[in-house]
Symmetry: C2
Subunit: 426 residues, 2 copies
Amino acid sequence: MAKIRSLDLDIREYMLKLGIQGRKASRELSRASTKSKNHALLTIASSIREAADVLKTQNDLDLVAGKAKGLDAALLDRLELTDSRIEAMAEGLEQIANLSDPVGEVNNMRYLPSGIQVGQMRVPLGVIGIIYESRPNVTADAAGLCLKSGNASILRGGSEAFHSNQAIAHCIKNGLKNAGLPAEAVQVVETIDREAVGQLITMTETVDVIVPRGGKSLIERVSEEAKVPVIKHLDGICHVYIDGEADLKMAEEIAVNAKCQRYGVCNAMETLLIDSSIAKIILPILEQRYDAESVELRGCEKTLAILPTINSASIEDWDTEYLAPILSIRVVEGVDEAMDHIHKHSSNHTETIVTENYTTSSRFLAEVDSSSVMVNVSTRFADGFEYGLGAEIGISTDKIHARGPVGLNGLTSQKWIVLGTGQVRV
Amino acid sequence: MAKIRSLDLDIREYMLKLGIQGRKASRELSRASTKSKNHALLTIASSIREAADVLKTQNDLDLVAGKAKGLDAALLDRLELTDSRIEAMAEGLEQIANLSDPVGEVNNMRYLPSGIQVGQMRVPLGVIGIIYESRPNVTADAAGLCLKSGNASILRGGSEAFHSNQAIAHCIKNGLKNAGLPAEAVQVVETIDREAVGQLITMTETVDVIVPRGGKSLIERVSEEAKVPVIKHLDGICHVYIDGEADLKMAEEIAVNAKCQRYGVCNAMETLLIDSSIAKIILPILEQRYDAESVELRGCEKTLAILPTINSASIEDWDTEYLAPILSIRVVEGVDEAMDHIHKHSSNHTETIVTENYTTSSRFLAEVDSSSVMVNVSTRFADGFEYGLGAEIGISTDKIHARGPVGLNGLTSQKWIVLGTGQVRV
């Protein structure tokens, strides 16, 4: 465990072998009973709890190496396995075990005039490749979601989390073995060679979908080079719009929470839009709150007219995902200008409006074309756990297949089933 | 109308213009009321009925040119606009008008422990590019489905159907104008230059999804070169498996219908699998029926032992979509061998089992991984009309997003909506 695999084995052959093993395991997994999948999930959860000390020791190796490599604060935060994060991993797996099995679910079965009965049955996608960076908890979440949804997975974590991931992989193998499921149902790639990624994303024969999780450059590279379909999001440029008819105290708390509760995450707010009618009242209050959190503010001209001491926002600011204590602020004339700004600059991840006006909230919900659209809630809720999905494999800002937090259903598709009594076409 | 557009305008600029116009129209369309969309659909339907003679005259130009070019029988069949096919186009549009509007539909709205309310809202994809070949009725079907689902469409039909398509486009423009919707909501490409396709499939800024409909070479080219996501199927290698416990008369009728009701269609059977226990009884009966329809039979060794005068099937036959009166036949030992054959040779389009056995039918339904899996029904039912979708934009054998016949829902996606009362993340 936790030794970097010797590279004498050719990477291409090694990855193809993982693919073939994954495909084979996926057939067994697609037929596995709910009981055995849940048994595996619960055993993995207890293995993780029992291995907490080992996980932290292995994680320390990664953290020390990361600091030596000069990783920034956001990356080191993502990399760290604290007691509460280890507990959250185990709880996430238990939550997944408690969810209904999506496989075999039949929907909308109905008779048609020809006498045939048509409906849809939910089925696994097959083999899912996950490519991620520093967060080791993704290893457990991704393995759990793929397992429950009947998919085999090939997990390729970041080299900076190598020891942490291999330690988690060991717990996963325990659980699979214990439940009588194939060990190859979850395969954690045992090399840090980057060519493994290049192989994984082009193995169309054995991999059905790729989910990249991480920074923009990783996701751009994967999307550009992949031959396998990709479920992805590039940026999280999320907006909060404080409407003229907002409850101002609620708006203040949401604006502070959306920016400051955690910085290095994709669902943090990067741009705050404020209706001009209440800008003079709320901006000075917000300035004080952000000052207390050491958030750097960058404003449009109208914002600067109210808060003259803050920095001026450049054109690039509206298109920047800071992932840091920086916030751009723009004063707008009503919901239409707010939605125009969002339409132009949003990454289609998550936007929220704070308003008490019924019509304005309805229009915002219907017209903003992002994967999550919210009313009177912090953008930080855009998350599979918070949506009750039992964890998420990623957040998609693509338009086809799954949008937003991708949980169990996003890892399945629906085939049509047709039942008849001998019908033929006339 | 029906004049090939002069090519002095650079194709690339022309297509980019269509893209920008389409994107603009898609915003209006996504907000259009159900009433105005339905009004447009019904007006298009009556325009098509009223223009039946014009459509047939224009279609004749295409048919004459097609015959002169030596198009084969299957292509000419697809190209022809008969009175009943014109009526079916109009009825298809009326059926689409009668369907519920999928846009804005909210599903699974529920409260979570944090107090937020989370659900999903169905929204249009945006701009859809359709690339198709000889069937002119696709112009009306595709325009109608895109319109009802709130999507702008850019339709690029085959050069062999150019006059027919432009005549249908004229009817569509009438309907849009009449309903006060933007004329660019449906754009039929007015050039037969093949470079138009190359442009359309790489316009990621203005096109959200491409649906190619047609022969394998078209779809392979589109899939290979597209930068925009593609919803597609390559082949329709459909199987009928006659189980040892089948009702033999039912099996006979299904096997004949699945092959002979129409040859040049993707949901026709190409390979018949028969359980060895009933092969001796049913094969001679089927031989007579297929002889009467002039279907050439190609059998495996076990089939030849029963029907010694038919041709022998080569290895390639099991992977061939004939689209013609040719059928390959294989005798198998039970449902497992049948499913193994299907798994190896199917294009994952449509497979049917004929059986009276409960467990065998359940296993076939659950374990065969095709976009449509059927019991005791002809494969010819795998079709949007027959499934009650009100027409189909295509049949997908991909695994992500939509599988099988793609109707209105397949042209939408679901965004998350979150309603709160000021919740912030702790």
